[in-house]
């Protein structure tokens, strides 16, 4: 018991310094997913048929593959084959981000579809071009409709980010494992890691709800009770 406590005490600083790496990985993946997902959702909703099909194919592909397979494919396969040398962290962010993009495409597509065609008609009737209508009228509404589903990507990516362990990214779980081999106290250390993930999870969700409340406007999202 005491040995376990000591092991945790000694390992804690090292494990905690994995937090920025885990969160950085999550943030980069979400950002990449957003940067790709939103244009793809727009392409799927307002683009022509071929674009739509291509994007559906992307979504099907990246939703069907396990994170781990994507990681291995990119880290050991695709990037070395192309002669591109990237750090495990960057590869993990790319793989997780490309996958998140598929999910975010679905989330935003649903949001755009939910707006109905009236908003577009009204915008066009005022002389807005399609592009202006999408960016000024449809997108700001879609992002609000999508917000609850979209913020779900955070806990998903947070827990999924630990697969980056498999290619040696120095995130929380990797560090925890290193300390396990050093201290021979697996359960206390794994439990500590779990607590860190759980706290990051619920802390993050809290923060997201606060932001949601801040930008809430009448007619969108969960109504105040």
């Amino acid at each position: 018991m005491l040995r376990g406590f000591n092991a945790v005490y000694d390992s804690l600083p090292y494990i905690l310094s994995g937090i920025p790496i885990t969160l950085g990985l999550v943030a980069l993946s979400i950002a990449l997913g957003l940067a790709i997902g939103v244009p793809m959702a727009i392409g799927q909703t307002y683009g022509n048929k071929e674009t739509g099909r291509l994007i559906s194919l992307y979504v099907w592909l990246f939703r069907g593959l396990p994170n781990l397979v994507l990681l291995f494919l990119f880290f050991f396969g695709v990037f070395p084959m192309l002669g591109i040398r990237l750090s495990p962290f960057v590869v993990a962010a790319i793989a997780l981000g490309l996958r998140s993009a598929a999910y975010q495409t679905e989330i935003f597509r649903g949001a755009f579809l939910s707006l109905g065609e009236g908003q577009m008609l009204a915008a066009r009737s005022l002389g807005m071009s399609k592009r202006k209508a999408i960016w000024n009228i449809m997108f700001p509404q879609a992002i609000r409709v999508a917000l609850p589903g979209w913020s779900n990507e955070y806990p998903i990516l947070l827990t999924d980010s630990s697969v980056a362990y498999a290619i040696g990214v120095m995130e929380i779980l990797t560090r925890g494992n290193q300390m396990v081999t050093r201290t021979y106290q697996p359960m206390p250390i794994y439990f500590t890691c779990a607590l860190i993930f759980i706290l990051l999870n619920f802390g993050g969700i809290r923060l997201i709800h606060m932001i949601e409340n801040l930008i809430r406007i009448p007619g969108f999202g969960r109504e105040e009770q």
């Binding site: 069907g64 396990p66 397979v69 494919l73 070395p80 697969v163 396990v180 359960m187 993930f197 759980i198």
Partner: protein, 219 residues
């Protein structure tokens, strides 16, 4: 050409065996995961307050903990405490616990959407509280929960790829070993990826059919 030969001669037989193990993981984990999910969900809705609390903590812990970490806890963390599992059992146990937590959320939502009148009507017929829950509420709830639960099944299929990290060599692990021996990573993981796409697509299709079968008028 070279790649095709490699795939045909070296890869497929190894993956074939791994695929069988992946399927074993899936078929063991899904039913038991669902059963756990049903119990947790029922406990959260109908249990007394200590049971409710335990169920809530269960969900909080297993949803918040990365699955890979959970597998480590079971496979490496428990033996020093005197509990040891084979890689297969440890993997399946981890998947069941995780799937139980995630699917219980959908089942709970579905239970709550079944009108309270249903329980009262069942009790009026002489059923006990738990009888009415299990024979009237849960079957209805299950139909409603199916789309969400189905999603979790799809997730689980993909998550089985984690098992090789705790030494159960399923299809991803089998691929990794062959790829490393022949230094053929791209071809290997493309083929492994195709295997997952097949499993996920078939599962999606089956779930759609099941959803259609189970839906009843007025749902």
């Amino acid at each position: 050409m070279d790649s095709l030969l490699f795939i045909q001669n070296n890869l497929l037989s190894a993956l074939w065996e791994g695929w069988g193990k992946t399927l074993r993981l899936i078929f063991m984990s899904v039913p038991f995961g669902l059963i756990v999910g049903i119990f947790i969900a029922t406990g959260r809705v109908y249990g007394n307050s200590p049971l409710m609390f335990i169920c809530r903590m269960y969900v909080l812990f297993f949803k918040g903990t990365p699955l890979l970490l959970l597998l480590f806890m079971i496979y490496f963390g428990l033996p020093p405490l005197g509990i040891s599992f084979t890689p297969f059992t440890a993997s399946v146990l981890g998947f069941i616990l995780c799937m139980g937590a995630y699917s219980s959320e959908y089942i709970r939502g579905a239970i709550q959407s079944v009108k309270t009148g249903q329980v009262i009507a069942a009790q009026a017929l002489g059923m006990t509280r738990w009888q009415s829950v299990f024979s009237i509420v849960l079957p209805q709830a299950f139909c409603r929960a199916l789309p969400g639960v189905g999603n979790e099944i799809i997730y689980l299929i993909k998550y089985t790829s984690l098992a090789h990290i705790i030494a159960y060599i399923e299809v991803t692990g089998a691929g990794k070993i062959v790829a490393a021996r022949f230094f053929r990573f791209t071809e290997t993981f493309v083929v492994v990826g195709i295997i997952y796409l097949i499993m996920v697509s078939v599962a999606t299709k089956l779930l759609k059919i099941l959803e259609k079968r189970l839906s009843f008028p007025g749902m």
